[in-house]
Structures are given as structure tokens and as C-alpha cells.
Amino acid sequence: MINLINISTRRFIGTIILFTGFLFVSQNAGAQNVTLNLKNAPLKSVLKEIQKQTGYTFVYNDNLIQSQDPVNISVTNSSIKATLDELLLKMRIDYEIVGKQIILSPKKSAEKPGDKLRNITGRVLDDEGKPLVGVAVFVPGTPYGTITDNDGTYSFAVDNNPDLTVRFSFIGMETKDVKLGNQSRIDVSLSLSSYSIENVVVTGYQTISKERATGAFSKVTTKDFEVKRLSSFSNLLEGQVAGYNKGLIRGVTTMNGSKNPLYVIDGFPVENVKYTYYGATSEQLPDINFEDVESITVLKDAAATSIYGARAANGVIVITTKKAARGKTDISFSSSLTYTPYEFYTGNLADSRTMIDIEKEWAVLNPKLQSATASAYASNCLDKAIFPTSGIKNILSYYAGRISQAEMNAQLEVLASKGYNYIDQVSKYGKRDKLQQQYNLNVGNASDKNSVYASITYRSNRLEDINSKDESIGINLKNSLNVTKWMSVDFGTYINYSDGVTQTFNLMSPGYTIMPYDDLVNADGTNYTKTAAERYSVENLKKITDYKLYNMDITPMDEIYWNNQRSRDFTNRIYTRLNINILKDLKSSTSFQYEYGNYRISQLFDKRSYKVRSDVNSSVTYNAGEFRLPYGHEYYTSTNLTHGYTFRQQLDYNTKIKEKHEIVAQAGFEVRENQTKYNSDKLYNYDPDMLSYTPIDEKTLSSSASGAWGTFSLASNLDRPYFREYINRYVSLYGNAAYTFDSKYTFTGSIRWDRSNLWGTSSKYQNKPIYSVGLSWNLKSEDFFDVDWVDMLKIRFSHGIGGNIAKNSAPYMTASYSNNTTVGGIQGSVSTRPNPSLCWEKTTTNNFGVDFAFFDNRLNGALEIYKKAGEDLLANTMGVPTEGYGYTTYTINNGEMTNKGFEITLEGDLVKKKDYSFGGSFIAGYNKNKVTYVNVKAPVYYLALDYPESYPRIGNPYNAIYGYKWAGLSTTGLPQIYNSKGEVISTQPSDIESIVYLGTYTPVYNGSFSFNARYKNWTLYLQFNYEGGHKIRNTFVPALSASYSSALASYVTSLSYRVNSKITDRWKQAGDETKTNVPRLVFEYDPSYSSYLYTIYSMADINVLDADNLRLSNVSLSYKVPDLICKKIYMSGARLQFNIENAAMWAKSKEAKYMLGGYVKPNYVLGLYLNF
């Protein structure tokens, strides 16, 4: 009965999943003798039955078996040999019994090898040079073929036809085709295929077999990258790893600690911490040649990450780079060209006519212009240069009697007819299409003694701003030397050098207000100059003359050349590892890595630039009219110098007792240091040829720096020498063990202690260990589990805690000191208050997972369900005002937060034929984040709006959006909201309770689905990424914001080129409030004017949009050059690929699409990949 079911299941599956598989290996235990009674049964199922009864394993080529007719067989308690003779003899199949294996092969031809046949021999090895047993070696479409023996060698006869192809195929490995040609010996090495559901998990500290893993991980390999441009980690991982979204793994786990996962390259954590201009630290992703990446394993739960200790609560991204394959020297070359057309999206932007209409409305509604004193008012406004836009200036000129009404109207009409003039001109003269080039060459060779791999990547990017570009070169070298049979030494280094120029002058904010009708280039082709006369008040213009100030004109198209920033970075990583097999089961490895980075920025502010002229003018004194800054180039430099090392000593124990008990254990200790030194300086009147500069009076310029022309102050870090230094040291002790019984049950555990030099962390507060335990059950290995189509089924559970670091807290008072520039001496202030109960953050993760592979691995995947609960999270708490800390939030272990979710990964190879194949994958991650405890409340209502992360609320997600409840427009067209009492108000409510939760801005679910289809040499791949359940605030609302006018010493309605075109839907007359939500224009002269009108409208719930979206993130069409052609040009493979990145986006609304960046132009990529 069971047989029949199996047969019919197989047949059914056989029909839907057309097998082209090659090999089937399975094992079972049973008696030696066989009893069979089958009619019209496929040979394959007969073999299975025999296997089941005897425990012998069949090793065969699928082609051989499937081509046979169904059989009738009836034997009772027959010996295995007799049964096989009975069954196979008539089928031209030979068999050979080797131990418990029965190897089937086509009957050796009766004909002798002669003219028509010749013998082919060779050996098949895996990546690590170990022989592969049972690899099918055959010539597709012919009966010729065999299987490799225990040594990995094979030998068989084949037609003497050089055009034939020999195929090497093994379950879990990439299939390899080799042209026969005139060879008589073909040695190959097969590498792991990504489809074989990653057989091993690389945690960085160890490589464990997939079957023994109890933790949650996702692995992406070379094959997955093939369809993508190798440009960044997020490009490689987005849509490939369930639970990975925008650089974060399984949501946010911390409030104030580091949020990024830890990156590990070839076993070493790589942390790049740099200082920014303003003295804040920022974490950089490691530099790497992406072409070298063989696989990326993302470790998601505690069982996987706890080994990394206090830094791993956010997950770990483990990168393994390529090694040389044994055999002939592999050389590959790739190049890609990425083109991104430039476009400034104007689809939602008000054009010149709309803005002129608004400026006219400003005049019509302005009571001062309707009064008797209109002329004086208009003159005053013009003389004081209160309104900077040409439209209003024209109108005022008319009212001031400086031009006629006809002249005004003509002028306004000229302006109104200019469309998006400024933006068009910026696109035409100031921007260009982005072009990125990338070239890589890598070489690898391995022998018994030595393995060398080297690669070089060169990138050159031409960026949108016409002066911005960068290039980089990365060189990677890896060497592994087997010194003796029991000792090997690895050595590797990676060097990256990059050089870039960034245009810092932004044409969209050139230092004055721009309107869509403004010019960048004059009609005659010369560069447009915004003169001082157009921007300054009569009084200020007089000052320019009186004080003999430097010219204050701005010519944007000249300025873009005058203050470009050059950055030059050099980074290097070098490691060495000594591996010793002390005993058969005991290994030792001693490893050391050193990292060095030098990030240098230099910026020459040309003396012609507005920046220099303005700085020098600002330094002019009142009385003497003396310039305290010398006029000349300003030269800014900054350097980040980073270095770090990791030393690790580890012992690995790996044993198998009585075939049933497997123990894998390791223990080690690690010492790590990371250091960053930052310094910046600025020189004045710098001469780049003479290398000279003029010293300035820093003390005077730092203190009473106000002068006749504004204020020049050396207060900024960018204007005077500035130093920062940072040092982290860690000492860790760790251990980790896994015990497997009978290949079915695995128990794992790990523990780690970390201590560091961070403030107070070397004290008693930090001795809590980080640990994990895990269990897995390999159901497929159970005797009772007998489902044919299941190739793998494993259930696992893990529990553990991860930590996170408090870099800025201390158990005792710390203070920071600086120079006092007014009275002299040193001034100090308390930077952290004593926090005696400080400890590291603790995140407990429980993970339940199922791994499966069905239908000969055609369908495989994993399911994960997890809960991460963060405790003792460093959360803000408000200082008590009466204690003197009312403005300060300080962090204590005061937060709790949970992340619950599940993840699904499914991959399927639906059709796989010689000429065509079709497959797909589906990835989904769901994560619900909730703050479960925190004791903080925004002291002022607007802080809750502007800094929601600083003031999380219990019960809401951490990344929340807050806003006002919209109550429609008033009968006069003013925006209205509900306050906490439910009253409709048109003012800013002053209590926090009026601010309501409107959603999270982190996607609740996200994932991807992708399809790949191959026809002959053409492969098409489509990847769609989706995310949803989250919101985004529309920050581009159809209302006029406010800007500060120094002439008025007050806020005024702000006009600019960046106004939403929907402003034409605004309230215009009573009754419109039922039709529109766009408020009327309220100008600064209006009695009800206040800048909060804009705030309450833009912060209302109607401007929080559903952010659900679907992106066609990658389209890839590749053409594999036929082997025949490759051969002729001495190549072993060539591929041409065309990609479209970010090809399209669908969102719920146009506004949401705009906010999500859906109108950004796609990248077009052309890639060439060659193997020699």
C-alpha cells in the first residue's frame, strides 16, 4: 500500500516537476533479503523499495533509470545479488556493490574501444580539494556515463567525437559541463550550489553543517549576486534576506545604542568608526571588493549571534570571500557600466505662473498696499530689501512709483511665462547624467601546498553635480599555505584607496531665494549674477561702500568651481592565522587582524568664492573698519585616523563517538581594540603654491566677533582646530558546543563574557555573560518519517541573550572642558551625570524555525518565528528641572521593547531542462515593534513631533510618527485640528496629549518575490521588493512655510521654487472648506498670521501617508556566450548582462510615491563577465 502511494506520488510529482535531475542518494536500514511483487512499476520505485528493505544505497544517473520501461518483478526472500540480476540484466545496466553502496552504470558496450570509442578518465574534487564520491559523469543524450569512486576518480568510454560535452553532476553542487575536445583526462572541481540550501553555516568563528545548526540565518551566495550589480551591501542583501530592511535586521532593538548589525569578514569583525565634522561618531560599512564575496550569511537570532557578545544584538552579517579552486588557474574579469539619467522631478512643483499668481495675491490682500501710505510702505519694503523675489519686487516698484502699471504687468507676464526655468537650467548647465564604471580582475590558483587568490577592483563614478566624481581601487590578496600536514598558515590583506571630489556649492540653495522663473544662465549664454544690489537693503549697500567691503555678488555657475571638497581615503586590513591540528580531534587556531584607515578631507575655498568674501566681510570691525580675517583662500583639512586589531586564540574540538555521538566544541579568548583620532584645521589666506598662510587672532575672533557686517565667529568646528579621539578595548572569553545524537538531535550552547574600557564598563557592572541554548531535530533522519518527496525537514528552537553597548554613559560624573574665549581659562560642564546602576543592554531572543527541502530539493526554504525582548535598554529620561537638568535628557537603563515577527523564505526550481528553466523565490518578513516600558515624556509638545525617538511612548512602535488630528479648514480657510479636549482649534495646542500616534515609519512587513527564466543562453530575472504596514509623513505639502526675515526680525511667509503645485487647490472663498484641505494663503501682514499655521497643517494626520509600496527593484537580462564561441577566443565562459535597477514603483498615492523616491530615474547597467 505504502508502495503504491509512493509510486503515485512520485508519478504526480514527476509530471508537475519535470525531472532532469541526475542523481539520487538516500539511505535506509533493513534486512539483506528482498521480497518484491510489483507490476508495471517504474524502475526507480523498485530500486527504492529494495533500498528500503536492504539498507543498501543506490547510486545512479537519473537519465539511465528514467529511460527504462516499467518493470514487472516478483521475488520472495531473494538475496540482493539475485534480485539485481533478475531486475537489471535485461536492461543493459551494470551494477557493482561497493560496501553498502550499489553503483549502477550503463552496460559496458560489447564493442571494444576502437576507432569509434575512446576512454576518458579523471578526478572530481570539491572546492577544498577533497574527492567527491558518486558524482555522475556522463554525456547527456547518450548512454555513456559513470559514477566516481571512493577516490573521486572515474573512467568510461565515449564516442570519439570532440563536440560532445561531458557533464559532472552531484547533488548540492553546481553542475559543470566540459567540452570533450581531444582530451582524454578531465579533472574538475565542483563548488557548492546555492540551491542546495546552503549546506554550511559560517558564523565567523566556525563553520558548522547546516544540519547541526540551531540558529536562524539566511545565506546568500555568488549565484544570487550574479543577477545584480555588485555595488553595496544593501544592494546585495535587499530582497534576498527575510527580515533585512534598510540595513537593519529584524527591526530596531535599541533606543540609544548602535543600531547597525555587526559586519564580519572572513572571521574578523570589521568596525569603521569615523568622526563627522561636528564631532559625532558615525559607523561606516567595511570596504570590500564585492566581486570577492562568495557568500554572505546573516545571523539573526541569539544562537547564531551570541558568540559575538555584547555587540551582536542587532544581528551579524558574516562575509566569506572567495578562495582559489584547485586545478587550473582561474582568471575572471568583469566590468559594469551604470548610467542614471538626471532628472529634477517637477511633476508636483508649482511653476512660474502659479508663483506669480501667489505674489499677485500677496499684493491684492495686503492692506498696506490698499491704504493711503502704500507708496511709502512699498518704498520702505524695497529699501529694506524685505521681500527678495522678483515678482513682489516688481509689484512694490509699481506701488512705490518707480515703474508704471504697464511695465509691472509686462514684467510679471515675462516671469510667469518662464515655466520651470531655473530647474531646467540647473539640469542643463549644472547637472549631468550619472555614470558609474566598475572593473574587476581576479586570479586564483591552488595546489596541495598553497592556495592564492587575488583580485583588483577599480571604480570610477561621474556624479550628478558636474564637479563631483570619485574613483577607487581595491586590492585583495589571500594566501593559504600548508606548511606541514598538520599546520597551515593563512595570510591576507585588503587595500582600498579612493579619491573623490564633492561639489559643495548647491545650485538649489545658492545663498539667496530662488523662484522657478529665476535665471542661472543669461539669454546671451553668460553666467547669471545675483548682485548685492538686488539682495541687500539700501543701508547695507551703503555699508558695503563705506567699509570698502568685498563684492557680495553671487554667480552660482562660477561658485560651483570654487569650493570643491577633495577626499582621499586609504584603508588596509591585514590578517594572519595559524592553524594547527594538535590531535586528531583537536585544532588550534591563532589569528590576528590589523586594520588601518586614513580618511582625509581637504577643501580649498577659493578667494573668489562668495564664502570667502562673506567671511572676510563679516570680520570687519565697527569702528576701525578693519578686516580681522585676511583676504585669501581658506583651506580646511580634516583627518580621521583609525586603527584596530583583533587577536584571537581558539581551540576547536570535533569528534564522533561510536558513530552516534558527535561533539563539536570550541573555546577561545579575544582581545580587540578600535581607535579613531580626528583632527581638523583651517588656514586663512592660504597659498597653495607657496604653502603659506596668515595666522589669525583666534582669541579675538572667537569672542566678541560681531562686526559691522554680520558676525564672524570661529565658534564652529569647521573654522578652527578641532580634535576628537575615541578608543574602545574589549577582552572576551567565549565557549560554544554542539552535541548531535544519531544525526537527529542537536543541542547547542554558547557563552561569552565581554569586558571593555568604555566608561565604567570595566567595573563590576559588566560581568554578566551573554549566552544561548538551542535545539534542533532532524525529522527526515527518523525511521518513522518516510515521506518520499521530503528531502529535508528540520525543526529548531533557540533561546539566548544578546547585548548592546552604552558608549556614552558612565557610572560616575564626567565633565568636558574647553577654552573660555571671553574671560579666559578653561570652562567645564558636566557631560554625564553619575549613573551607578548602569549596565549593558540585554536582548532576549527566542526563535523557532523550520528548514525544509522538498521534491529533490526543487522547493526549499525556511520558516522562522521569533520574539526579541529588549530589557535594560538605554532610554532617555528627562532630567528633573529642579535638579538643574531640565533641558537635558540623559540615558539610563530604562527601556523595554519587543520585536515579534516571522519570516518565510521559499525558493523553487520549477522547471529545469537543458534548454530552458524557470524558477522563483518568495521572501517575507513581518516585524512588529513595540515599546513596552520607558519612563520619559517630552517636556514640550513640539519635541514629541520632532524627536519621536527621544520620547517613545509605551504601547507604540519605537519608530513612530506623531501628529495632530485634522479637523478640516475653518470657514476662513485656516487649518484646524483637534486638541486633547476634542475642541477644534486653529492654534498650536500646548499639551502633549493633543499629539496622537499616527503609525510607524518602519515597514511592518517587507520582502520580495523574484522570477528567473532561462531559454538556452538567455536568462531573464525580475525582482520585486515590497514593504508595507508603515507610514510616511508628507513633508512637501501645498502650503507656504515660514522663514525668518532679519529685516523684519520676525517670521514671514516664505516663497521659493519649492512649492507644491497642489497649492492651486487652496481655499479661496467661503464654502471651499467643504471641497479642499489646502489652507488659504496667510501672509505675514495678516492679523492671524503665525508660522504655526503651516506647522499644524503639515503635522496633521492628513499629511501622514500610507507608505505601502512595491518596487521592481531589479530587471536583469543576461546572455551566456555559447561555450563553442568561448573556446575559440580562449575563454571558459562569458556573459553579457543588462540590468535596470529601480525600474518602477507602485505606491498608494502620488504623494507617497514621491516621498518614497519613486520618481527617481532608474539605473541602467551593462555588465560583461569573462572567465578564462
Partner: protein, 473 residues
């Protein structure tokens, strides 16, 4: 082979033990840079030079209530609390509106915290003599008291001998520890505390402090003169005024400043700003403290009506503001910039305290002589005439006018107004009335608005104590 392996094991064991025996604590005792744990006396003394935290006196709402500063309509619309105070809206619930205006409270308690910290840690600080420690603690005691003076005159009822021991004042906190307990004590207790602190400090103070930010003996005397005047204790006020003038009695000659910058000052079209001489090194200084801002900035603009309260020919007034129209607004535009000693103590105030004490004792001509000594340095000679007083009330009115003008943007005009209001007799020496839109509004001397409500941030997050509002709205 066997030999090799054992050799290697030995090597590894040595390597392993080498690293583990190196003292882990020494390795980890490298501290992060950029900040440190204060230990020496200098480490603590440096806190007094942190001007942002400890040397500001923001009394913005008092300035606005007095209409001493011009506020635009847009700003009034934006800040409802400013609007209530500026337009004397007695119906406004300022407790609710006071959700984001907390500088006065927050910054003064920040200063008090720093001083508490210094007083707590100085005795055990290293690298200092006893005398140096005592001097630093004395500075901290005076500064702490100055902050309490501002707080009690802003958030609590005016000191009146009859009610001071029953009316609640402001929280008194004496420890810098996290979660330190405090009590909102009576007005009298705060005044007693102030006097006690300054008295304790006096033996250790030099005439002038290490820097203008360190209050010396002169500042302590001047401060006590102000405190006693606020308490209507004219005898002690006069005594300490004289002691202060014994240390510094110089007056700055604003008429000379005017003469030197006359072209610029009299050029109605030029709004180029001059540097305010009333900064750190001003000759009149006993000590220096900022107003609302600690950085270099122009002064506040002033309403037209306020300028009218200046005497004709006031050189300082002419130097400070010019009539200005921009768009819809016409007001007096500040023409001085730099640093301004709004929060510290100067000789001018002490002269005027002395003058009032003399007037209170019916020594009218002495009082006028003292007042004229100041006026001579202020009023341009062509406008200057000695003032005489027809009566005590006249004398007090004249002294108050000069004092309100001279002490503009400090807590003094507000504290004085409250004192006159509470005392009653001379409450109307300055009246508050104006037209808003079409209605006439007034601020009566008995209005509840003369006491400011505690900010919401402080009452909502009281810490280890309780705070009771001293005013209903």
C-alpha cells in the same frame, strides 16, 4: 612527529597564558577621551566659567510684561504666553500656556546645581590650598544666592515682612545628587538662606573675583543692598550700598561715548551697530552675568512708548536705539551689540539704591545728589539740569525712572515694580496702560500677573519633592 606536536602544544600554552595573565584591568583602564572625571579644584572651578550653564539670567517674560521689549504680531501669535503677558490678558491661563517657556526656571536651577556640586566637592578636591577651596565655595554660595533671588522674585509673591513667613516661595535644593530631595520653602526662608549664604561667603572673597564671572566682595555687597531693598530694609540696603561703593564707585560716562560716536548715533539712516561698552570689562561692574543669551548679540528692540519714558538727551538711550520701520512694524531698533551685563551688578544700581534709601529717610537733597551723580554721566550736557525733588514721592518717582531705564532688561525693574506694588504707597510712580486694537488695557499693581507661574516642565516632572503654583493662572 610526536615531538613536533608536543612542541607546538607548549608554544600555544605559553602564548595563551601570556595573554591571559597580562592584567586585564590595566588594559581596560584606558579611559575614553574628550571628557574626564573632575578631581582637582581647577576642574570644579572651570564650571563657573561655563557661561551658558551658570552665568545667564533669562527674565524674558518679566521684560515682556513690562512692555520693555517690542514683540511683533507674528511672534505674539506664535507664543501665546508672550501674548498674554504683553497684552496684560488677565483671563489667560498662563499655567497652561507655560508649556515651552522655561528658561528662567531651568537655567537658574542649573546654576544652583553647579554651585551645589562645587560646594559639595570642593572640600575633597585635589591640588588646592584651604584658602583656594574656601574662595571657590564662597563664589558658588554668592552665585547660588543670586539665582534664588531671581527665582523668588519671578515665581513667588513679593517679599512682605507680614506674609513672607507664610507664603510659599520656590524649591530649595542643596544637593547636586541625582534624585536629591528638596522642599518648596517660604519666601522668608529663601531670603534668610540668601543672606546667610552671602554672609558666610564674605570673609573669603577678594574685592574683585578672579574674573568678572566670579563675584567678589563688591558684588556680594551690591547684591545684599539689592536684597535688603527688596525686603524694604532701607537701613541695611543703605549700609551695603555704601560698602559696595567703597570697593567701586566709578561711573561710565555715556555722554563721552555719545560724543565720540555722535556722527553714527545721529545718522538716522544708519543702523550700523556699535559695541556695547557695558560688557565684561565695564568700569561700573562688580561682576558680570549675561541676560537671556550668553553669546554676542544685539539688544532687544523697544516699543515707541517705552522710549518716551527716557529723559530727553539721554546719551545712553540714543546710543542704544533708533526709530525703525520695516514692513508693518515701527519700533526702536537696537544699535548696540556685543555682550551686555544684564545679570550682574554695577555701580549705577548701587548709587540708585542708595538714592532711594536716602529718599526713604527723607534726605531728599542727598537723594537727588546721588541720583544726579548718575544722571551727569547720562544726560548730554545741553539737556542736563540737576533734578530736585518736590516731595518724597517725587524723589522716589524720579529715582525709579532713572533706575528702570538704567536697569532695563534685568530683573530689577520687575522686582522694583513688585515691591512698589506690594508696598502700595508709590505703586503708581509708573503706570501701565495701552491700546490693543481698539480696547484700552491696563496692568494694575494688584494684578495676579506680577507673579509668574512655574513652567509645566517643572511641575510635571518635580523629581524628589513637590511644587505648588504660587499663582492661579
Amino acid at each position: 612527529m610526536k615531538k613536533n606536536i608536543s612542541r607546538l602544544i607548549t608554544t600555544i600554552v605559553i602564548l595563551f597564558s601570556l595573554f591571559s595573565s597580562t592584567s586585564c584591568d590595566d588594559y581596560l583602564n584606558v579611559l575614553p577621551k574628550g571628557s574626564k572625571i573632575p578631581k582637582t579644584l581647577a576642574d570644579f572651578e572651570a564650571f563657573l566659567r561655563d557661561e551658558y550653564s551658570n552665568q545667564t539670567t533669562n527674565v524674558e517674560q518679566a521684560i515682556i510684561l513690562l512692555n520693555d521689549r517690542y514683540v511683533t504680531v507674528a511672534n505674539l501669535n506664535y507664543y501665546p504666553l508672550q501674548k498674554a503677558n504683553y497684552n496684560w490678558d488677565e483671563t489667560a491661563n498662563r499655567i497652561e500656556l507655560n508649556s515651552s517657556d522655561e528658561s528662567t526656571y531651568y537655567m537658574q536651577y542649573k546654576t544652583i546645581n553647579t554651585c551645589n556640586l562645587i560646594i559639595e566637592y570642593a572640600p575633597t578636591a585635589t591640588e588646592a590650598t584651604e584658602a583656594q577651596k574656601n574662595e571657590l565655595m564662597a563664589y558658588a554660595k554668592v552665585i547660588r544666592s543670586m539665582s534664588y533671588y531671581v527665582l523668588v522674585n519671578f515665581y513667588a509673591d513679593t517679599y512682605q515682612a507680614s506674609t513672607a513667613s507664610s507664603e510659599l516661595g520656590v524649591p530649595l535644593i542643596e544637593s547636586a545628587n541625582l534624585g536629591a530631595p528638596y522642599e518648596q520653602v517660604t519666601v522668608k526662608k529663601i531670603y534668610d538662606y540668601i543672606i546667610q549664604n552671602v554672609t558666610e561667603a564674605i570673609p573669603y572673597l577678594p574685592n574683585f573675583g578672579t574674573t568678572p564671572l566670579h563675584p567678589g566682595l563688591g558684588a556680594a555687597y551690591a547684591f545684599l543692598a539689592r536684597v535688603y531693598l527688596t525686603m524694604c530694609d532701607y537701613t541695611n540696603a543703605a549700609k551695603y550700598a555704601d560698602l559696595a561703593l567703597g570697593i567701586n564707585n566709578q561711573l561710565y560716562d555715556w555722554t563721552a561715548f555719545y560724543a565720540a560716536n555722535k556722527t553714527q548715533i545721529e545718522n538716522a539712516a544708519s543702523y550700523t551697530r556699535l559695541i556695547d561698552p557695558c560688557n565684561y570689562t565695564f568700569v561700573e561692574n562688580y561682576n558680570y552675568r549675561h541676560g537671556a543669551t550668553y553669546y554676542s548679540a544685539a539688544e532687544n528692540p523697544v516699543p515707541i512708548a517705552r522710549i518716551a519714558l527716557f529723559e530727553q538727551g539721554d546719551a545712553r538711550c540714543k546710543a542704544r536705539w533708533k526709530l525703525y520701520t520695516a514692513g508693518n512694524d515701527t519700533y526702536y531698533y537696537s544699535t548696540l551689540t556685543g555682550y551686555h551685563n544684564y545679570g550682574g551688578y554695577t555701580t549705577t544700581e548701587v548709587y540708585l539704591i542708595k538714592a532711594e534709601c536716602q529718599a526713604r529717610e527723607d534726605k531728599l537733597s542727598d537723594a537727588m545728589n546721588t541720583l544726579n551723580a548718575v544722571r551727569k554721566k547720562r544726560i548730554i550736557p545741553e539737556f542736563y539740569q540737576d533734578l530736585t525733588a518736590a516731595s518724597k514721592a517725587d524723589a522716589i518717582a524720579k529715582i525709579r525712572r532713572t533706575k528702570d531705564n538704567e536697569m532695563l532688561f534685568s530683573i530689577v525693574p520687575f522686582a522694583d515694580a513688585r515691591r512698589f506694588n506690594a508696598e502700595g504707597t508709590y505703586a503708581n510712580t509708573r503706570t501701565f496702560s495701552k491700546v490693543v486694537g481698539t480696547t484700552t488695557v491696563t496692568l494694575s499693581p494688584t494684578s495676579h500677573m506680577w507673579t509668574m507661574p512655574f513652567p509645566k516642565g517643572a511641575t510635571d516632572n518635580p523629581g524628589n519633592g513637590t511644587i505648588t503654583q504660587n499663582v492661579d493662572k
